[in-house]
Amino acid sequence: MQVTESALPAAAPEMRRPGGWGDAARSNIAGLLLANIVFIIAFALLASGFTSPINVYSLSRSIGIDGVIGLAMMTVIITGGLNLALGAIGVCGAMVVGWALQNAGLPIPAALLLGLFAGGALGAINGLIVVLTRLHSFVVTLATMSVFFGVMVLLSGAAGFNALPASLLAFGRLRLFHMVSPLLLVMAVVALLLFYLYRFTAVGREMLAAGANPVAAKLTGLPVERLFVYSHALCGAVGAVAGVMVSLRNGAIVPSMAGPLGADWLLPAFLAPVLGGTALTGGEVSVLGAVLGTVFVEVITSGLYMLQIGEFWIQTALGIALLAAILLERARAGAMLSRSLRG
């Protein structure tokens, strides 16, 4: 290195470390946490059965699944892109696992690995097309969503796999402490791995930089194209995990698990990361935020069902609750900010 310490000016600016409670309280993580606590307490008081083991179990399972779906989408949102084919890839990944277990007779770990690999490969195909054609990932994945799903239905004849190994199904049905689904732990593991990736590894930081400003990243010497392909592949692999998790809840692997073309996953996939503070323009990521966002959505969904609002009106109530919560959070963050500036 050219600049030696001795050549440095004596007066060094003070290097204040970031963080501290002030920063944390202002971030929307704190807001989400608060909203979660408020809603959980409210529902526990108002809706009988909300805290029953069976509901907590069901809640933990939904959080696990939708959390992983959201995390999967997050990995491409950071590139400033998106992946409409996420659901299709998730289903394809799960179907590969089903095939490997039931038709090829592979042992469970090998089958899961194969599924992960298949999801990653399909994601990588998206990434490669995006990078090579420079089309927006919206158009690319719109098309591949149709292609992936179509090929899957073609190959499988739309028939699912329902003779999964008992041990795998038993894992899916496990009740930890009588009320927690192991799928929640799966999500925790995925979240931790992603947190590690983006926070503590070179390639994760490079992905973020490439997503934030591809031109600057490229001029800095980062292999932007390759990083984009990695991001899409990662999305596919995590999507496959989600596919397997949904299958575990269903007790079978079926092509319809994510709706037509896998499109049912799209809203939860975007909702959680965006609520959690991941910018759709790319380059920023909040794993914890995405997880808290999922918890938030699942809690109000479950709670409103528990309140037994008229069937068809439940969606309206959900929308209003979501809107009220984010607007209140917004007001709170604003108040915190102005207080900290005055103080």
């Binding site: 919206f138 490229k218 909702l271 609520l275 969606q315 309206t316 929308g319 984010i326």
Partner: protein, 323 residues
Amino acid sequence: MSRLRNLLRADWLGLLLLVLGGSAALAVVRPEFLTPYNIDVILVSFCLTVVYALGQGVIIAIGHMNLALGAIGCLVAIAFGGAMEVWHLPIWLAAVFGLLLGTICGFINGWLTWRSGLTSFIITLATLSIFKGTALGITQAQPFYRIPDAVKAFGSVRWGPLPAMLLLALPIVIATGIFLARMIPGRQMLAYGGNPNAAELSGISRARVVLLAHTLSGVLAAVAGMMTVARLQNATPAIGDEWLIASFAAPVIGGAVLTGGHLSVVGTCLGVLVVALINQALVMLAVDPFYVQVLLGLLILGAVGLNRLREARLGTTAPVRLS
């Protein structure tokens, strides 16, 4: 001379060539393609789609999104149907009521986005739930069937290959085109979409732009919803369910940038036509149902890819992209 050059550089020229080439090829393979009834079918599909695609387009222009587009269309459709069936309103009054409702819904989206400063994604996702839930709650998932014959006729009548709905869709397309290309508020929307900071520094009011775009989007969704009622001859709460992806696809295929600042109305129309044509081809060529999805995807990718190739040749891509 420079006009010709501009035309050659237009990002939708490739799509135009594709539409023309594809139609010609289809007409050769299947002469029935050129029958008036068949052209009518494509144009009907075009009319229904292009209106809500532009409804999304004006939002994309300012760099926002409107996930509630289909829900607004749905709510307006059943309000329109319900107003006529339950309240026995005359058609014009029901239509005005529908338009008003769409305007209000769009305005609510805009107002919430503007006041909260949150991304329109979240806001419209929440209002999507609210609007759709209300539509389902009112109807209990049952369609309104008693649509007056005049409304049904509007969705069915055609003169040769030209459907009556063109009378509504075409003026809307042209008006939107002029609005964005030449009118001051339209230009301000595009300026804001291109660079919100710069636009605000130039005195363009964020509130105005955001409210205008979202309200416009609500109005267009309302029109599309009521047109769909006329076509389907009933007002079912399933209207609008498939709008979300399609409404983004057409403008984006037509060259719009999701980050805002650019929307080609001609491109959007061609985007709608390309997809309609591909769907038509898949039906006409009697493709095995199991292959339809695969081919649909590949054809879309192929069409957009070809267009992109032409752009790359001409070097019309934005220079900010490296190399």
